[in-house]
Symmetry: C2
C-alpha cells in the first residue's frame, strides 16, 4: 500500500511555516503499514493541485491532502476537489449545525464565509472535525479502490481527524494486517554503539518476526520494536518477548519504556510515584532543566523549584556557596557544584537536588577549563556526588546535553536509593 | 525565475526527521527574487530522483536538491546526478586534500568511503563545504540556462553552502535585481489589528514601491518591508523611509528593529548596552524566562539569575515572601507576585527583577482563579508594579505568552527608566 502526501499553502513555499504535518503523518502511516512514497508541497494555485493529483493517482492507492480548507479566498482545495471529482457542493445541515454551535459556544460572530464551510462535495464522506470549522473529506476514485482524503492544515485539527477517522477507515478498507510496536528511550549511548552492543540478538530478530528501528535524537536514541501479524495477540507476544531481551541487555541505558515518553516526563512520573521531591541549582544550564520539568502538567507534585545562579553572588546569597570555595577552586569546579547541590537541598527542603556549573560557550573558556567543561552534582538522601562532563563548542547543544545527562543521572540515583531502602 | 526544491531521504518519508531545510531555503530564495513553486520529498531510490528531475526541468529554471550525499550505501544522489548529466566521477585532488585535513585535524580515522567523497562528476562546479565532507555540486543543463544544485541534507552544512556559494552565483548568473528588506518584531498586537492600525499608510505602499509581509509567530508578528530596484541605494532609501513611518505609528509594539533578532536577544542587547542587570522569580513559567535568556551567548553580562519558586516554601525561604501574604491572598495574587519581584531584586542585587505567578494549567484552576490567570510583576529602579494577564487552557502556550509579555514589559520599563534619567 503506497501513499502520497500533498501539502498546500503559499506559506510553506515562502518558508513562513515549517511543514511538520508530513513527518507526523508519515510516521503514523508507516506504523499502520502504509508507506509514503512522496511528499509534494504546492502553492494555493488550483492547477497545481489538479496536476499533482493526476500524477499521484497514476501509481498511489492513497493520497492525503492537507491545507487550503480555511474560510478565506486563498483557500481553494475544496473547490478544486469538487470539480475534480465532479461532486457539486451542497449544504450539509448537520455540519452547519455543528459550525453554528462552534461559534455560538465561543461567543464569536459567524460570517457568511463560515456558513460556506458547510457546503461540501456531494459524493464525499464527511470526516468530522470537532476542533475546527473545516471538515475532513474522504473521496473514492470512481472505478478504482483509490482513496483521496482532504484535511485542514492546522496540525491539531489534522491529527484529530487522522487518529479518529482516517487511520481506522484505512485499516478497515484495505484489510491491513495488525501491527504492534513498543518503543523504549535510551540515553548515554550512541546509535551505532547500541546496535553493536546487541549485535548477536539483533541478527536473528528478523527471522523471529520482529523489526527494529533506531530513531536518534540529540543525546538519545529511541528504539522501536514492531511486528506484523494476522493475529494481534501473536504480534504482541513476539514484540514483548524481544523487548524483555533488549531490556536485559541494555537496562543501564533505558530511561523510559512508556510509549512516547520523554526523559523529563519519566523523571516527573517516577518521582511522583515514589512521593519524592527534587530541586535544581542551575548555573550553565540557566533554567533549562527547570523549564523542561515545569512544561509537564502535574510536575508541581514532585518539583519544588530552585535557583538559577548565573553569577557568583547568587551562588553565595541564595545557595550558601562559600566565597572561599569560589576563590580557591573557581565556579566551574567539583567543590562548588557540590556546594550548590547541597545548598539547594538545604534551602528548598527537597529530597534530591541537581546542580550544574560549566562553560556552555562560545565565550568564557580558558586553556585549563575549555568551553564544554561541565560539572554536575546530585545531593540527596544517598549523599552528594559530582561528575565531570566534556562536550563541544555549541552552546545550545551543551546546555541540552547537560540537561539530559543530569536528568538521567537523577533518575538512576532515585532508583538506586529506592532499591537500597526497599 | 521559478525553482523547485527536492529533498531526498527515507527518514523524511518515515517521519523520523522533520524537513526544516525547505522552509529555510524557500525564504532565502524568495528574498533573492526566486519563487519556489514546488517542494518534493523522495525516498533514497534513484529512479524516484530521476523522475522528479525530469518533471522539475520541464518548467523550472532552478532545481535545488538536498540529501543523499553522505558516505554510506543509502546515499546515492551523487551517483544519480553523475549518470543523469553523463558526467563520470573523477577524483578531485583539492577536495581530497580538504577531506584528509578535515579528518586529521579532528583526530578521526579516514575510511575508504570518505576517500570516495572526493570523487565528483567531471562537469560540475564544486561548491566547497568547509563544515563537512560532502561537497555541493552545481550543474548546468546542456543547451539550456537551467541549473541543478545538489547539497548535503545536514542543515548547517546546507545553509553555509547556500549563503556562501549558491545565492551569490544565482544573483550573478540570472542578473536578479537588487532586493532590500528590513524586518521589525512587534509584540502584543495581532496581525489583523496591526494591519488595521496602519491601514491608510499600507494602502499606498505598493504604489510607493515597497511591499509588506506580516509573518506571525505565537504572540508576536514580524513585519517585513522590501523593495526591488536596479539601483541598490534606491531600494534602501524606499524601505528605510517607509520603515520610519511604520515605527512612528507602531513604536509602542516594536520590541526589536534588528534583523532576525528575537525578543530575548533584544532584551539582552539592551540591558548589556545600558550596563544594567536583571533577575527573575518564576513560579508559573518555571524557568522558561531564565532558559530563553541564558540560551543567548553573552547573556551573563546582564542576567544574574534568580529563583524558580514552584512551591510556596521556596517563595518564603528564597524570596522572602511573607507567609501571611500567602495565607491572606494566595500565591496567585498581586501582593505575592510583587513580593516575589522585590525579593529577587533584594537577594540578587540586580537592577530589575521580573516575577510570574499564575495557573498555567491544565489542572489547578478554580472558579475564582481559572486556568490562564497569571500575575506578572517588575521591581526595579523605578519602583514595583504588577499586571494581571488572562490566557487560555493550553499550558505550553500560557508559559510562552507569559514569558513574551514579561520580557516585552521589562524592555519597556528599562527604556522608560533610561529616558526619565537621561
Amino acid at each position: 500500500m503506497l501513499a502520497e502526501i500533498i501539502t498546500v499553502g503559499d506559506e510553506l513555499l515562502l518558508g513562513q511555516t515549517i511543514d511538520t504535518n508530513s513527518a507526523w503523518m508519515g510516521e503514523k502511516l508507516a506504523l499502520a503499514g502504509i508507506a509514503v512514497e512522496r511528499i509534494t508541497t504546492l502553492s494555493d494555485e488550483p492547477a497545481a493541485l489538479v496536476a499533482a493529483l493526476d500524477l499521484a493517482l497514476e501509481s498511489r492507492g492513497l493520497v492525503l491532502i492537507t491545507g487550503g480548507l480555511g474560510p478565506t479566498v486563498d483557500d481553494r482545495t475544496k473547490q478544486v476537489l469538487s470539480t475534480y471529482f465532479k461532486a457539486p457542493l451542497v449544504q450539509n445541515d448537520e455540519v452547519l449545525a455543528d459550525i453554528t454551535h462552534w461559534f455560538s459556544s465561543r461567543g464569536f460572530p459567524m460570517l457568511p464565509s463560515n456558513v460556506d464551510q458547510a457546503l461540501l462535495p456531494d459524493t464525499c464522506e464527511v470526516l468530522p472535525n470537532p476542533q475546527g470549522t473545516a471538515q475532513g473529506m474522504w473521496f473514492t476514485v470512481e472505478g478504482t479502490d483509490q482513496v483521496v482524503v482532504s484535511m485542514p492544515g492546522v496540525p491539531y485539527e489534522m491529527k484529530g481527524i487522522m487518529v479518529d477517522e482516517v487511520i481506522p477507515r484505512l485499516v478497515a478498507r484495505f484489510s491491513l494486517p495488525t501491527r504492534y510496536h513498543r518503543t523504549v528511550l535510551t540515553q548515554g549511548i550512541g546509535e551505532s554503539f547500541l546496535s553493536q552492543h546487541v549485535a548477536s540478538w539483533e541478527v536473528g530478530l528478523v527471522n523471529r518476526g520482529v523489526s527494529i528501528a533506531y530513531l536518534p535524537a540529540p543525546g538519545q536514541v529511541r528504539v522501536r520494536l514492531s511486528a506484523v501479524s494476522e493475529i494481534r495477540d501473536e504480534a504482541i507476544l513476539r514484540v514483548e518477548q524481544e523487548l524483555s531481551d533488549f531490556k536485559l541487555q541494555c537496562g543501564d541505558w533505558i530511561v523510559s519504556d512508556v510509549e512516547g515518553e520523554s526523559l523529563a516526563e519519566a523523571l516527573v512520573r517516577t518521582f511522583t510515584d515514589e512521593r519524592m521531591t527534587f530541586a535544581v541549582a542551575e548555573s550553565c544550564t540557566g533554567g533549562a532543566i527547570a523549564a523542561s520539568i515545569t512544561a509537564i502538567p502535574g510536575s508541581s507534585a514532585c518539583f519544588v523549584g530552585g535557583v538559577v545562579s548565573y553569577v557568583n553572588q547568587v551562588k553565595i546569597n541564595l545557595l550558601g556557596v562559600s566565597p572561599d570555595t569560589l576563590e580557591a577552586h573557581g565556579a566551574v569546579s567539583e567543590s562548588v557544584v557540590k556546594e550548590m547541590a547541597e545548598g539547594a537541598l538545604h534551602t528548598t527542603g527537597a529530597d534530591f537536588a541537581l546542580a550544574t556549573s560549566g562553560i556552555a560557550g562560545p565565550g568564557g573558556g580558558s586553556e585549563h577549563i575549555p568551553v564544554g567543561t561541565i560539572w554536575i552534582s546530585i545531593a540527596g538522601l544517598n549523599g552528594v556526588e559530582a561528575r565531570l562532563l566534556h562536550f563541544g563548542q555549541n552552546r545550545i547543544r551543551n546546555i541540552e546535553k547537560t540537561r539530559l545527562e543530569g536528568q538521567a543521572w537523577l533518575l538512576r540515583k532515585l532508583k538506586e536509593y529506592k532499591s537500597a531502602v526497599d
